[in-house]
Symmetry: C2
Subunit: 573 residues, 2 copies
């Protein structure tokens, strides 16, 4: 008898498993059930559908050759039976039967299986605050919700919106609302920075600055306490621990959690947060049952610990692995490195591996080395700045992660992808210094921005480069942190440095880079010198030189003017 | 006494060594000599200087903060003595002295060293044909030559140009001449394709097509036999083995070879082609003499054999390694993977690892799997096609190389860089299938184009996918190759397929993808079916299905319509 494969869930991992299994196992009977009527869609496209970049929701569930992926498509083109509006109620592992129920009619049925695949996905976190069920309060967990949000905006119901959560989806939704609909939008993030645990502080600061430049209000370190209805019964205000915000629309983008109940109720191993436990072949604790996608717990290839990584791209890769194993082709999914990229207005931000904060919390002696470089040859007409933070372990020199921001385009992706390929191999700094990234002037500098970030990390870890955190430098400048005597040594051209000398008087000294070796004796020896240039490179050189003349009380401002300009530091000329 | 470091050559590897050594060895005496008066320039920027993208040659030898890197810059800012117009004549290894001579005055001198660094670079190959010394016949080996070429064009002396050599520099120069100066330009390449040994045939065909679209004439498989002077004594014609071409300017871009004479004459080990032999620390056969840049022989990390890789980006990385070793920090340069990227008009082409042709010549059972995918989500407004050829060894599944072409931008770079990071680790196909490239709809598809290319390779190597080479398909269609009975099965919408059915009659059958499973019995069983769609994906699925109904006489046309359109196949509607 032909093998019966039953798949629960038909968004990403499910359809991928089904289609590949069909190609590998011509005789199998493949059935896919989903409680929704919209299936096989690109959930990551939802913000672009809401913004209007994607006009019709059908585009999110069409193939690149313009066929809508509905039940008849799966039946006729793919040879896969799909039962929509069909909820999986329980798994009878002994009898090897899936119990289902029609969502609308309530009619119950059973589907026998030889192999079962659970791809039940995730559900968005609902904030446990009063008013979370008001009209106008949404999550973005499904295409239906997205359609409602877009309709509401299109009807003109939304003048002001509050997005709870400054993670990727929150920021993408904020852009969609602001940029294409002109909605006055505020992001409220509970943690002290946006993209918490994904990028380092300075990269998050770049993101926050660019959001503000584009009209999005950003409040960090602030939590929503209540959603309050207006006279119409619809949400009208958001109360946080710090303020009250008007809002016709509230989007809760506070993360998702695995839908593991079906598995748990069947007695399969499930983690505390609800992720289904699988081995590298993506088998659950029952070898006849596989699981993939947002509903599983996976493994972090950097920390070596269990992790949760709900991403459509991983779901697709996992679906392929399951299909291979079903067909008897040994195949493994070894874990995740945490690759991430996102557009926000005219910039993009990305990461792979772990951030400094996560690394420290995992017990690494982690530092973040900021490299600020041009993305292509400085003599090439269209060059721009790229900000890369390389996270390294000081004692072992192991590279743990890379995060950064750049002008919108694929330039940042090119560095993130290279690091994503290397990081699972437990590389050290010199692997990145020598990494042979492709070079031509329209694409990069001779030493690529990523090589440069590695070289900064090398100098930092070797103790040749001593820096002040940019955050602290700004606090020293503002007087927020009172510190002993210090002065900024500005190495740039006197025309540039002069403006700040005028402004800050004896806090700011100008001595051009190429005159330091002759005139260093004019520098104060009783103060900490904070060395400043455009990118930090010249500052490092001068620090090294001053060490040789026994002026060792210096710190380099990393990223320097280029970073501060990007951060919109208000006292800059 | 402080250590004396003497460096011969001041373009890329030399200055990098000098500056890093200065930072690491504060007490060292560092001297750099160069026979030229223009030093420390970005040679890779020469085509952009000729085109006019870079206005002034000074930009090629300036820092990103606008200081010209001349002798006074190196002296004052870097603490490095530079002697320009100074030719290194001989090394006295016993006395540890470098003999030099002033290029203009002929005055001789000796410079004692403790450590010597040879960074003498390369010289362009001069074609051994009559007329190679005529006025108007150039190589592009130095900034001086580039300045002359640009002056000659600016004076209006050049209406027609012939570039000998379809490698990277030849193509970049052809673009510079055509695009910004309107010079009627022809490329003559001796090998059967442009970018020989760098990219696979189909990728080269894309490049050739796009050059022609932009007005560059391309002749492959054709060699220059003579350059003939006009009445003025200046070059006027190029005679090849096939034709005669008018030319006011001839550029010989036929590769470069190492300048290894200084090393060879000093009794150091030098390879047959003249590359200085170095160990991983970049020491020559004399441990007190190092060498780096275009003058050395290096090691190919894929083939495990000696290689020559003259690239500014490598020279810079090598310079850093030498400086570290001079300062007592153990550091190695392990070899090259051959990463390459290049802009040509509105497209770019790149590669890393080795091409199929090279792989076969190295004894691998190599196949090239062509993946044609969108560079970003198909529902995202600005998506375009990316053509990736993954070169794999059939028996071991090892990935040996990646080459491809795409619309100009950094999208191709993002895939080349990821592969460049992985290929030295001797990856297999599944490492690429599961490679966690960063995903968001504005940057990629959920399964990245590179993952897709790996999946195509997997299907190909597993024998599930059987293809006809696109080259052969075109020859079958044109009748150039006479073959037994075959017919094209076009899976696209009948509106699209119909146009070709009309054109080719019984050579072309239309049966849409989603009807094959019901109607396959209508297909001819006595002919080879060449299965055709847009990208090749549907064709593969249908091939797998037809296998199950015992119709196994099929071949997929890889890359399909998308590739053929890019190649400008003339019979397409």
């Amino acid at each position: 008898m032909s093998q019966r494969v039953v798949i629960v869930g038909a968004v990403a991992a499910g359809p991928k498993t089904a289609c590949r299994a069909r190609r590998l196992m011509p005789d199998a009977q493949i059935t896919m059930v989903d409680q929704d009527d919209l299936i096989s869609y690109g959930g990551c496209g939802i913000p672009y559908f809401v913004s209007g970049d994607v006009t019709d929701e059908k585009e999110l569930r069409s193939t690149s050759y313009h066929l809508v992926r509905d039940e008849s498509f799966f039946r006729d083109a793919k040879g896969v039976d799909v039962r929509i509006l069909t909820r999986a109620v329980a798994i009878d592992r002994k009898e090897k039967v899936l119990h289902v129920e029609h969502v609308k009619t309530g009619v119950k049925d059973t589907i026998p299986y030889d192999k079962l695949v659970i791809a039940t996905g995730s559900r968005p976190n609902i904030l446990p605050v009063p008013g979370n069920d008001l009209k106008g309060v949404y999550t973005v967990g499904s295409l239906h919700k997205a359609i409602s949000i877009k309709e509401s905006i299109a009807k003109g119901e939304v003048g002001k919106a509050v997005v709870i959560g400054g993670g990727a989806i929150g920021i993408e939704m904020a852009e969609a609302l602001t940029d294409l609909w002109g909605v006055e939008t505020t992001i409220v993030e509970f943690m002290p920075q946006v993209l918490p645990k994904i990028v380092d502080w300075s990269v998050a600061a770049i993101v926050e600055r660019h959001l503000r430049e584009n009209g999005v209000t950003v409040y960090t370190g602030e939590g929503a306490k209540e959603f309050v209805a207006g006279s119409s019964g619809r949400v009208a205000r958001v109360i946080t621990n710090k303020r009250e915000l008007e809002a016709d629309l509230v989007i809760m983008a506070a993360g998702v959690r695995p839908r593991g109940e079906l598995a748990r109720d069947a007695g399969l191993m499930v983690s505390a947060p609800g992720g289904i436990v699988v081995n590298q072949r993506l088998q659950t604790s029952d070898p006849d049952i596989y699981a993939a996608g947002d509903c599983i717990e996976t493994y972090n290839l950097v920390t070596g610990k269990k992790a949760y990584a709900p991403l459509g791209s991983l779901a697709n890769r996992q679906g392929r692995v399951i299909a291979d194993n079903l067909a008897g082709i040994p195949s493994t999914f070894d874990g995740v490195v945490g690759s991430f990229i996102m557009k926000f207005f005219d910039m993009c931000v990305g990461a792979t591996g772990i951030s400094q904060e996560v690394a420290v919390s995992e017990g690494f002696d982690a530092v973040s080395a900021m490299g600020v470089s041009y993305d292509r040859a400085h003599f090439f007409p269209t060059h721009d700045m790229m900000y890369l933070a390389l996270v390294v372990d000081r004692s072992t020199r192991r590279v743990l992660g890379l995060n950064g921001a750049a002008k919108m385009g694929d330039g940042l992706l090119a560095r993130i992808n290279a690091a994503a390929a290397l990081i699972p191999k437990k590389p050290v700094i010199s692997d990145f210094s020598n990494l042979e990234l492709a070079y031509a002037p329209p694409f990069s500098t001779a030493l690529d921005a990523l090589n440069t970030a590695a070289n900064v990390a090398d100098n930092l870890v070797s103790g040749r480069l001593r820096t002040i955190e940019i955050k602290d430098f700004l606090a020293w400048m503002s007087g927020e942190l009172k510190r002993p005597d210090w002065v900024v040594l500005d190495l740039r051209h006197p025309n540039e440095a002069g403006l700040l000398v005028e402004k800050f008087g004896d806090r700011w000294i100008s001595l051009p880079y190429n005159r330091v070796k002759k005139e260093y004796k004019s520098l104060p020896s009783d103060k900490v010198l904070l060395i400043m240039c455009d990118a930090g490179t010249r500052s490092y050189e001068i620090q090294v030189f001053l060490d040789t003349v026994n002026m060792k009380n210096t710190m380099v401002v990393p990223g320097a003017m280029n970073l501060m300009r990007r951060l919109g530091v208000e006292w800059l000329p």
